[in-house]
C-alpha cells in the first residue's frame, strides 16, 4: 500500500452546516476521473474514502465531505494552508460517454451530488453531444442542498429540479422524495442513460422508478458505498457479495448490482 502524498488545502468553502468543499493542490500525480475516490488522511487521526467532486488533473483535487466522525471532523476543519494526505485514485469511473447521443437523467440525494458534480459538468461542457439533460436533486432541507451557485448555472443549460423533505420558511420549491420527480423528468425512456448517487435505499427506489418509466437496468449507473478502508481490494471491508466496492466499484451498472442490494449485511 502506498503512503499518502501530502496535498495542501488551498481553499475551503462551507456548503452546509456540516459539509465543506476542500480544494487541494499537490505534486502532479496520476489523474483522477469522475466517479473515482481518494483516501484522504487527517494526519495523526486516520483516513477516509472521499469521492472526487471536481478537478482531478494537474495535482488539483476538489472534495466535498461531511463531518460525520473523527477523521471527517478533522478534514472538515482543515484550513487553507493545512496539509492533508492523499492516496489514489481508486475505483471505477462514471461512463459519461455511454450517454452520448442520449437523453441524460442525473439523480442525486444529499451529499450524493458531490460525486455527480463532475458528471454534470462533463455533460454540460459537451452539451451538444447529448439530448435532453435532467438533474434531479433531493435533500433533507433547503439548507442541505449543495452547490447552490452551480445549480443556478446548470439551470441555464439543463432541466434542474430540487426537492426537499422538510421545507423551511420561504421555500417555494418542491417538497417530497426525489423519486416523485422521475415521472416528470424530460427523457425518452428508450434513449436515456441515468446516473444515480445518494443513500443506497434511495438509489434503489429511484432505479425502480426509472425502470417503471421504461429504462433498462444496464442504462442506469449507480455509485455504491460501503466501509472502504484500504482502497485496493485487500482488506475486504467493502465486500458486497462477490464484489469489492473499492476495487470493482464504486460505480456500477444497476443490472449488475441490483440483486446484491437486498442481501443483508452479516
Amino acid at each position: 500500500m502506498t503512503a499518502p502524498v501530502p496535498y495542501r488545502v488551498v481553499d475551503r468553502r462551507v456548503e452546509t452546516a456540516d459539509t465543506v468543499t476542500l480544494e487541494l493542490v499537490g505534486e502532479d500525480g496520476p489523474a483522477f476521473a469522475p466517479g473515482q475516490f481518494a483516501m484522504l488522511t487527517a494526519y495523526g487521526i486516520g483516513e477516509v474514502p472521499i469521492s472526487l467532486s471536481g478537478g482531478g488533473r494537474g495535482g488539483r483535487l476538489i472534495h466535498t465531505l461531511r463531518n460525520v466522525g473523527a477523521v471527517t471532523a478533522a478534514l472538515h476543519g482543515a484550513a487553507p494552508g493545512q496539509m492533508i494526505g492523499v492516496r489514489g485514485p481508486f475505483g471505477t469511473t462514471w461512463d459519461v460517454d455511454a450517454a452520448r447521443g442520449h437523453d441524460v437523467v442525473i439523480v442525486a440525494g444529499g451529499i450524493g451530488l458531490a460525486p455527480l458534480r463532475p458528471v454534470v459538468e462533463a455533460v454540460l461542457a459537451r452539451r451538444d453531444e447529448f439530448g435532453r439533460v435532467s438533474v434531479l436533486v433531493g435533500a433533507r432541507t433547503p439548507g442541505d442542498l449543495l452547490y447552490p451557485a452551480d445549480l443556478r448555472r446548470w439551470r441555464q443549460r439543463a432541466d434542474v429540479r430540487t426537492i426537499v423533505d422538510r421545507p423551511a420558511d420561504g421555500w417555494t420549491g418542491e417538497v417530497g422524495l426525489v423519486t416523485t420527480l422521475i415521472p416528470r423528468a424530460e427523457a425518452d425512456p428508450d434513449n436515456t442513460v441515468a446516473y444515480l448517487c445518494g443513500p443506497e435505499v434511495m438509489m434503489r427506489f429511484v432505479a425502480e422508478a426509472l425502470i417503471r418509466r421504461g429504462l433498462a437496468g444496464h442504462d442506469i449507473h449507480v455509485s455504491l458505498e460501503r466501509d472502504m478502508r484500504c482502497g485496493a481490494g485487500w482488506c475486504g471491508h467493502c465486500q458486497l457479495g462477490p464484489l469489492l466496492l473499492c476495487r470493482d466499484g464504486p460505480v456500477f451498472r444497476y443490472d449488475r448490482v441490483e440483486p446484491l442490494l437486498r442481501v443483508r449485511e452479516l
Binding site: I163, P167, L177, T179, T180, G198, P199
Partner: protein, 153 residues
C-alpha cells in the same frame, strides 16, 4: 368528433390505455379549470367533491399546525392526479391544496364519477387501476421519508 376536453385528457399519460369510450364517459363529468399562483384549490376539512388532473403548474399539499402555521407536506406537479379523499367516506379533504404556480387542470365531479364507478364495473375498475398506483407510490415515498435516509454519510 372528440371534445377539446377529451383530447386534453387523452394527452395525459395518467389515462393511457383507457378506451376512447371510457375517456368520453369520464369527460362527461369534467370541466376545465385554472388557478392563479397562491389560490386555494381546496381547504383541509372541506367537502371532497372533486379531483383534478394536473396539466401545468405545481400544487402544495399542506396542513395547518397550531403554533407552526401552514406546513407543506408534499408538492405535486403535471401529469398526476390531485385528490383522492373523494373516493371514500366521509368525503372530506384530509389536507389542503394551494397552487404555488399558475395551474391548468381538468376537474372531475366526484359524485358523478363515483356513480359511474358503481354502475359500470369496467369503468370503475379502469379508474381504480389508475388511481391506486399513484396512492401506492405516494405512500412508499412517504415511508421512505420517515426513514430520514439523509442521516447516513
Amino acid at each position: 368528433m372528440l371534445s377539446d376536453l377529451t383530447i386534453r385528457v387523452l394527452a395525459q399519460p395518467f389515462f393511457a390505455g383507457l378506451t376512447i369510450g371510457l375517456v368520453r364517459e369520464l369527460c362527461e363529468c369534467a370541466t376545465a379549470e385554472t388557478f392563479p399562483a397562491g389560490a386555494t384549490i381546496f381547504a383541509e376539512g372541506g367537502p371532497a367533491d372533486a379531483f383534478w388532473l394536473l396539466e401545468h403548474g405545481k400544487v402544495a399539499l399542506g396542513l395547518h399546525v397550531p403554533g407552526r402555521g401552514d406546513q407543506v407536506i408534499e408538492t405535486i406537479g403535471p401529469g398526476t392526479v390531485l385528490g383522492w379523499s373523494w373516493l371514500h367516506p366521509p368525503y372530506r379533504w384530509h389536507f389542503g391544496a394551494n397552487a404555488i404556480e399558475p395551474v391548468t387542470a381538468v376537474r372531475f365531479d366526484a359524485a358523478a364519477v363515483r356513480l359511474r364507478c358503481e354502475t359500470d364495473p369496467e369503468f370503475g375498475y379502469a379508474m381504480l387501476s389508475r388511481l391506486t398506483p399513484i396512492i401506492t407510490e405516494r405512500l412508499q415515498a412517504t415511508r421512505l421519508r420517515l426513514l430520514d435516509l439523509w442521516g447516513r454519510p
